[in-house]
């Protein structure tokens, strides 16, 4: 056997830069081929993109005539920034939106910093008092001039719809999930039907329903604002999805937890609130945040019923005769902003998952 007699060479080096390259990129001939293909792909994609976005782009100026370079014309975004971020909200009242943002930012940062006291109070403030502040500050009242919701728009409107949708849909979703798991057949059946109907149809039909059918459902003289109708639609839609996520958590709970809480004499609601829900919600946090990301992305659909959210306003600004032909810049900017928000949420969810992991 000549192969056995052949001298065995030293093992292939696996340390250092060369070792890493050999192990991960050039381990055999088809891997090397794949690497070269990948490098080529990056070569045809990345340099033109970087050139367009940064190197050849136009940053300074005030009209489209200042866009003399070949790359992107970011002046388009710059000049319309107020519209894109706040919609048609009156300029002298913008401080109200910024004030709300500031409160949110401060309490958010406070909650994110580890090992601070009174986090529960800050959380309660955010959930109970902050919404009232928002309503008063944003739509007017208590001496503040009222601002109609048709003037709301841009990123601000997107955040309002997503925020309200997220905050209100979670409790409704939890109730629906409990209802679906209930031992009472009528309650369980009603909740199942409700959940399955909302989950079975696309959001766009829900929004069409909200804008066309809700007015028919209401008694004489009661007329909901278009924004509120959309909010109700988004809220029920995402509540149904959250209900299924929460149900997954409830089903994953070991039976012993239910039996133990009943054995110590807890009533149904106490058992749920003190034992079952805290544990099962913790289990499904990543999935819940996944649903939040979905709601956030789905808020873009409100533009089909004539609300100008972030994407809607960018679409609208692009039709301005002074700025025709800059749709690429608009879409890239919108994509970047949406991406940052969604990626931040999923990053936070991973962090939370690690932190809350008690090693069950």
């Amino acid at each position: 056997m000549s192969a056995a007699n052949k001298e065995i060479g030293p093992p292939v080096i696996e340390l250092g830069v060369m070792g890493w390259l050999r192990k991960n990129l050039f381990s055999n001939w088809y891997n090397s081929l794949l690497t070269i293909f990948g490098l080529y792909l990056l070569y045809i994609l990345i340099p033109p993109l970087v050139n367009w976005i940064f190197l050849d782009a136009n940053f300074v100026g005030s009209t489209r005539d200042d866009c003399t370079n070949e790359g992107a014309c970011w002046i388009f975004i710059q000049q319309n920034i107020k519209l894109i971020f706040y919609g048609l909200y009156p300029t002298e009242e913008l401080w109200r939106i910024n004030f709300v943002y500031l409160i949110l930012l401060i309490s958010g940062v406070y909650l994110l910093i580890p090992n601070l006291k009174h986090k529960g109070w800050v959380g309660a403030f955010l959930l109970i008092i902050f919404p009232i502040i928002c309503v008063v500050m944003l739509s007017g009242g208590l001496g503040l001039e009222s601002v109609e919701t048709r003037l709301w728009g841009g990123l601000f409107l997107t955040l309002v719809i997503a925020g309200v949708g997220i905050v209100l849909s979670l409790p409704i979703g939890v109730m629906l999930a409990l209802g679906r798991r209930s031992k009472l057949p009528v309650v369980s059946l009603l909740c199942t039907i409700f959940i399955e109907i909302w989950r079975g149809v696309p959001l766009i039909t829900v929004l069409f329903m909200a804008s066309n059918m809700f007015p028919l459902f209401m008694p004489e003289g009661v007329n909901f604002d278009k924004l509120i109708r959309a909010l109700i639609g988004v809220m029920f839609f995402s509540a149904a999805y959250l209900a299924e996520v929460v149900r997954g958590g409830l089903q994953a709970m070991p039976k012993g937890q239910y039996e133990a809480s009943q054995a110590v004499g807890l009533t149904y609601w106490r058992m749920m609130a003190l034992v079952i829900l805290p544990q099962s919600l913790k289990m499904v946090i990543p999935a819940i945040i996944g649903s939040f990301i979905a709601i956030f992305k789905d808020t873009t659909l409100v533009l089909v019923i004539g609300l100008f959210d972030f994407l809607g306003i960018i679409q609208f600004v692009g039709t301005n005769p002074d700025w025709l032909g800059f749709s690429h810049e608009g879409y890239v900017f919108a994509a970047a902003v949406f991406w940052v928000f969604c990626y931040a949420m999923s990053w936070y969810s991973q962090r939370l998952e690690k932190k809350l992991d008690t090693g069950r």
């Binding site: 690497t35 009472l184 109907i197 149809v201 459902f217 992305k297 994509a335 991406w339 969604c342 990626y343």
Partner: protein, 392 residues
Amino acid sequence: METDKSKIGSFIFNRSVQGIFYQLVTLGLVALGIYYIVTNTARNMLERGLASGFHFLGVESQFDIGMTLIEYSPTSTYFDSFIVGLLNTLLVAGIGILFATIIGFTVGIMRLSSNWLIAKIAEAYVEILRNIPLLLQIFFWYFAVLRALPKPKQSLELYDSFFLNNRGLFIPDTVFGEGSSIIFYMLWLTIIISIGIFIWAKRRQNRTGERFPAFYVSTALILGTFFISLAATGFPVSFEYPELKGFNFKGGVKLIPELVALTFALAMYTASFIAEVVRGGIMAVSKGQTEAAKSVGLKQNLILRLIIIPQALRVIVPPLTNQYLNLTKNSSLAAAIAYPDLVLVFAGTALMQTGQAIEIIGMVMGVYLFLSLITSLIMNLFNRFMKVDGER
């Protein structure tokens, strides 16, 4: 007296009595809510002079639709427009699912590659695409890419047979000449024979343990018969290529830009989710399975086909169907770029003309609900079928 009181007490605090009481209350509240909505709606409709019922379905629609798979004209009925919209929705969903599956499986497997660069490129694809709203992606492909393409005269072309320009994508059409029906009959016949071969091979393997290369034999049979019958009948199948005549293309199949953009965006977006599903499924098959298969002497391709793929599919298929359903529901975003799908044609134009919001939105929602229910039914059957005995 004493006993009476305790009787009432035990009646009130009885678990099942309480249960019935709560259920009656819930039922009553729901019924009250529905009654409230129905009476309000009836009065509102009366006041606004809105018609009700489904008579409108038989009425002439008086509008045209940009893309139809069946015969349709403004003299057709509203019901015809419903069917046209439904078929357009199913078309875009079907093509979207096909491409999303191909891209999704490719990217998902790429993410598991031992090649660092390839895995990172796949990861970047997933992380970028799934964190950007679908509607934005549809707008991008439609307004920023397809509408910005050159005019027909300067079309992008591939092999002189595929043309892409701002009027849409033009692809060759297949023309079936005389005698081509024989080829189809032969095709069907060989497919049936192949199924027979598979069943026979399986039985023989169960009985004797010998394997029969059923896959290769039946592939050879189907392709061989296909080409032989093609040659024997004198190649009755030909292609009609699109040609530039004047300012536009004639001949071939025209895919309108709305369809191309929508399919593209749906496929790319859904593929990023499918990739994660596929990755999760393959990772769920424990390494011991591969090692055990190797140690009993199975060859690499058999390990993949008999051990890994069947186990991975059990994990992959349910969420994959869910993604297909999501894609179908997301195809309703067509309305935003005016692709004539069910929502745009029926819940848009037809609703605007007739004003019968309840019936129309009910029908549209019903279609999507029906699709969801069918899918979950199939999924339940699949799960029952795939369940391993003794598993929870």
